[in-house]
Every structure is written in structure tokens, then in C-alpha cells.
């Protein structure tokens, strides 16, 4: 909460608030996080999964009654 801060100028901040509300986000924070997540993924791409990672991901779903 107090860890990382980013400064925005007032004009942009106002627009962020406006967009967050219009788009149905619960807060400006949520809007900013979502936009940045999408943009960082676009630029950096997603991590390639190793077969071991894939196994791990599948294992996490084990025991979900609806699929077993």
C-alpha cells in the first residue's frame, strides 16, 4: 500500500478517475493496474512455460469436483 507510488499530473489523474468510473472499475487503482498489466504483457510478452510448469498448473486443478 505504501510501497510503490507513481506520480500522475492532475489532469491525467482526473481522466483516470473518469475512465475508471465509466468503464465499471471499482477504483482508479484497479483501472491503472489493469491497463498497465495489459500493456506490460504486450511489451514483455508472457513467460514461456516449461513442461514442469505445465504439470504444476494442471496439478493445481486436481480435486476440483466439477472435473474429476
Amino acid at each position: 500500500m505504501f510501497g510503490n507510488r507513481i506520480k500522475l499530473d492532475d489532469e491525467l489523474f482526473r481522466k483516470v478517475k473518469q475512465c475508471a468510473e465509466a468503464a465499471g472499475y471499482s477504483s482508479s487503482d484497479e483501472f491503472v493496474a489493469h491497463v498497465l498489466e495489459k500493456e506490460t504483457t504486450r511489451i514483455l510478452g508472457t513467460d514461456e512455460l516449461t513442461p514442469a510448469d505445465e504439470e504444476k498448473i494442471k496439478k493445481r486443478l486436481e480435486g476440483l469436483g466439477y472435473i474429476e
Binding site: 512455460l49 494442471k58 472435473i67
Partner: protein
Amino acid sequence: MIAAGSALAIALLSPLGAEAYAGPGAGFAFLSSFLLLLIVFFSSLFSLLSWPLRLLYRLFRRRKVYTRAKVKRLVVLGLDGMDPELATKYMNEGKLPHLARLRDQGTFLPLQTTNPPISPVAWSTFQTGVNPGQHNIYDFLAPSRSTYLPYLSSAQISGAKRNLRIGKLVIPLGKPQTKLLRKSKPFWNYLGEAGIFSSILRVPITFPPEKFSGVLLAGMCVPDLRGSQGTFSFYTTRPEESGKKQGGMRVPMRREGDWLISHLVGPDNDSARNGAGELRTPFKLQPVPGRDEALLDLAGQKIVLRKGIYSDWIQVRFNAGLGMKLYGICRFLLTAVSPHLELYVTPVNIDPAKPALPISHPLTYSIYLAKLLGPYATLGLAEDTWALNEGILDDESFLRQCYLIHDERERMFFDALDKTRRGVCVCVFDTTDRVQHMFWRYLEPEHPANNGKDTVRLAGTIEELYRKMDDLVGRTLEKLDDNTILLVISDHGFKSFQRGVNLNSWLHQNGYLALQEGATESGEWLKGVDWERTRAFALGLNGLYINQKNRERSGTVSAGQEMEALKKELQEKLGGLRDPERDRVAITEVFDRRAIYSGPYVENAPDLIVGYNPGYRTAWDSVTGKITRTVFEDNTKAWSGDHCIDARLVPGVLFCNRKVQAERPSLVDMAPTILDLFGVKKPPHMHGKIWGLSEATPARNKTR
């Protein structure tokens, strides 16, 4: 402490002399209680003295929040999956007196659910007051656009932030990182900001817990200690039948004299590179000759296991190296002794007294509950439906497990009720959902799952379940005063699941999904699909995905016109799809996500949502992305009832001890309504309606 002891001794023993001796044994026993009394005394004093200060602070901060509240306390009893039709039937038969009284003196209405009507989706809407397009939960699982592999939609668990690497060893520093993927904000956060306290127990999709002013124990989708959604273990001396695939984890036992030696399986051993195996804790088992018993020796704890009787929760410790320990709890059940010994062990739950991952807010809340009430199930889907499906547990054992968990939950709930004199208390009970899933076949003599199974002995199970819930409602009402609103709700209703529809097989047969050259079937999770020639695929319970260019890794369908045309085509072909064998409509309607969702996360939703007719559901193989040669098949698993159908056909229930004025009340209305009851303004992003509630309780709550 020793100094205090000595001082105490001198005080007690002077003048010295044999006659005045009081042994140190006395000090020994009294010392800790004496210190405790001191602590209590000072903490009482402190809280009394600081009370006016804190009161002032709170008054200043929240400016008389309760004066704007229309109610002192609100209790939400969530009975997952309680069905309005069954409830009506049993009420009319006079079997549910307390719910009937709520209906007669207050409210009983169907409660509109989410599309799809699945617990993670519905309870997310309940807590945030928004549609799935805003909270981002559409199913238990979601496919990765880049790998087509599924991931758990609600929480992401990754390794510790930093690792210490020494040669081949990788030692994680700190606990794994968890991230909640549900978006938007639960109503209890808004209440907390306004200074209103909430106790939130086991509401689905609350793991990992978020900070707010109140206490919360996470529910559905909390993993077990292995990180899965609940993997049981099965031990037997019976030789393995070749070619028979079995779920859960079958662990071998080795004979050594009178003892059978084996181990419990814990989380992956992250300290070894290349994922070298998992952590283990050994145990020994010694069958008692001539009796249906065995002696369990687990790290020095000796426990007698009796056939058919669950052990208490037993604490298990896994050593993760470098003095790091992970704690879990599990129950043992001896299911057979001769000719072969068979032992079932529940998934190793995260020990609430020493949580390996945060399962509550604050962290101490789960510890508090464990110390007050003893150990309890922490796994999200705690009732082991998988073991029953696999035939490792029988109906009775499964049922006993459900009610053991239910009783734990009741004790927690009544403690939370006792501790929440003002504010909101919410508790979700899963028993209703799990038992209906597994015992629905008893209601329908023609159910394909009945084949070869008992249909008589436990025929009354669901009725008994409803009676028990009614009794719980009765006991809750006794604890409430006139200034408390009680809402008894369910997130969806329940219907039969007789036939499975393999959407992937249908897509394959109709040319929308291609398999690699020469293949007629695929592996799990769409293994063997030729993505370059595939236009659509299904994954999860109701979702259909278009293989879109620049979105999916090997997308083939262009966004825009081609996409729209394909969606329309699929909607038309699948909507009204008939099951030729039964000559019945299997799919009522297929929904375009843009027609039913709005909000920033709609792009993550399945492109189409399939609404089934009662009696139908996505086939077992289809959920896990397996293409077979059949589209329609009988469901023969014990899991014989379901609700993943057309949302309009499975509303939940809404009971209230006051009159609710609302047209077609819906789950999405609950958050704004609760905020309104406590005088908190509805945030603009919530689209639900605020219900009108009659002022006073029409009649006293107490029955005599």
C-alpha cells in the same frame, strides 16, 4: 519468569523453616496461571482505559455511522445450492418449519443467479455487487490464450519472491506468493471503510484474503498443502490392477515385520532443482489381529484407527529443509482390514493453527478459530467428492465427512455471531451443494448413475439435508434480536445431471475443431488438437472459445466480421441442440458474452456461454478438454446432480425475516442493498437494485 518464581518462593517461604515449605511444584503449576492472570488484568485495564480514546477516534472518523444505519446487525446464511423448488416442496410437506415461518412472516423468493450459475461466479457477484464482466470470474478455470492450458481462475500461486541457490539446491526464502484474480471490491471493504465491522466465513473466492476492517476466513478455492484443489491419498495392500486408472493418489505400502510402512505426500520439494519429487512424512500402520483396527504411528503420535470411523484431525509436519516446516492436517479412515487393508487419507489441509499460506484476514483469525474450536477443514472444496466418484469412499463415509465439516462450520458461525454484535456476519455452508451433487440420483429412479448402486438405503438423504439446514436456521433465529436482519440465500438451485454433452466432440464432428492428422480422439486439456485448423473449442463448464487471431497463440478466426459470423452460426446450431437418444432438447440457448456481460474484463470471458436444459451438463471429458467419438453420454458417476445449466432455470433461494420489496431480486442486488442498510452510499460501478425492506420484524424471532 525464573526470577519471578524465586521472588514468589521467597515471599512464600520466609521465615524459612520446614513447616513453611511449599514445594516448587506449587510454583511450577501456579506460575504460568499467575502470569496469565497478570496479563489478563493489565490487558483488561488497558482496553478499559483506552476505550474512551478509541471511541472518540472512531466517532471522529466515521461520524456516527450507525446512526445512519437502518439496522444494527445483518446475518447472511449462505446455503450453497439450496433449490427453491425442493425447499417449497419440503416446506409444503411441513418438514421445514423455520424456513416456512420466514416465508410466511417475511420473505421467500427465488433469487436470480449469474450466468453461468456456478458458485465461484455467483459468490463473486454476491460479494462485489457487479456482473462477471467486472469481477473477472467466469468459471473455476480459464484457458491461457498463449498455451490453451487451463489455470485456476480465482488465485495465482507462484514460488517465493527470492530463492537462495547453493549448487544444485534452490532454497525458497519466505512463503509462496499468492494473488487473487477476482477483481472489483467486496461490500465488506466499503463497510469497513465506513467503520462497520464484518465477520466473513468461507465465502467462495476470497483466497488469498484481502485486507479490510473485520475478520475473514477464506472459502472455496483455498488449496490443500500440495497446492491442488484437494488430492486424497489411498493406501492398500491389494495388488494394483493393471490398466485401471484411478484418481487421487495411490501410495504403495511396504511390509516390515508386523508393520506396514508408507508416507504422506506433501508439497513439491522446491529446494531441489528440476522438481525432484515431493516432501514426505513417513508413517507406520500395524493391523490389530482379529479386530477391525490398526495402530497408526505418525512421527511418534500413536492413534488407533477403527474401521469405518474417521480419526480426528491429525497434525502432519513436512520438513522443507533449513529448519523450515510446513504444517498440515488430515483425517485417516480405515475402509477395509481384510483380506486387504485399505486406508483413505483426506487431502492434507493447510493447518489453520500454523497456516503455510494466508487463509484468513487477519492472519491470526484462522489461528484464533483453531485454538478456540480445535482444528478444522481449511480446503476450499473440503468435501471429498472425488474419492466418492472413484469409489474409495462409500456414500455413508462421504456423508459423514460432509457433516463433520458442517459441524465445524456451525461452531465457527455461532462464534462469529457471538462476536459480531453490530455489523455484518456472513457464513457460507457448502454441505448443501456437495450432498445434492452426490445424492441427487436417489431422487430419480431412472437416473443412469443408479445402475448397480443402492437406491433405497440413503434415499432420504437430501430431505434430511434440508431438514438439518432448517434446524440451523431455527437455531440462528434464536440468537437474533429484533434489530437483526437475517437473509438465508443460495447462489443457485439444483437440477439433475443425467446426460453429458461433449461440446468438443460436437465441434470436432461439425468441423470447427480439428485433430492432428489421423487422430480420432484427443488427450486431456486439448492435447492433440491441430490449432492451425481449429476455429472453436470448449473448456470448463459452460464456456466456448473462438480461436481468434492475435489473441490465441495459433488463432485462425479474424476479429470483426468473421468472428461475429462464426459466433452467430454456433449460437444457431447449438441453441436447441437435441439429444437424439432421449429426444430432448439438451441446450436451451447459447449466449454471446457481449449480450450478458459488461465491464472491463469481458475480454477474458468465454466468447459464448452455453445454457443447458435441466438433466444435461457439459460431459466430464469435455470439461477437461478431451475430444471423444460421442457427443451425448450417460452420466454414471455418483456426482449425479448439477446446476451448470441455463442460469434462468436454476435460481437460488432468498429467505428473509423481513418483507423484501423487489421485483425479481438477484444476487447482484445484495451488495448495494447491504451497503444501503448500513447507510453507505452505493458506489457508481455497482449496477444492482437496492431492495426495500420492511422496517420492523413482523413477528418476534423466537419460537416457543
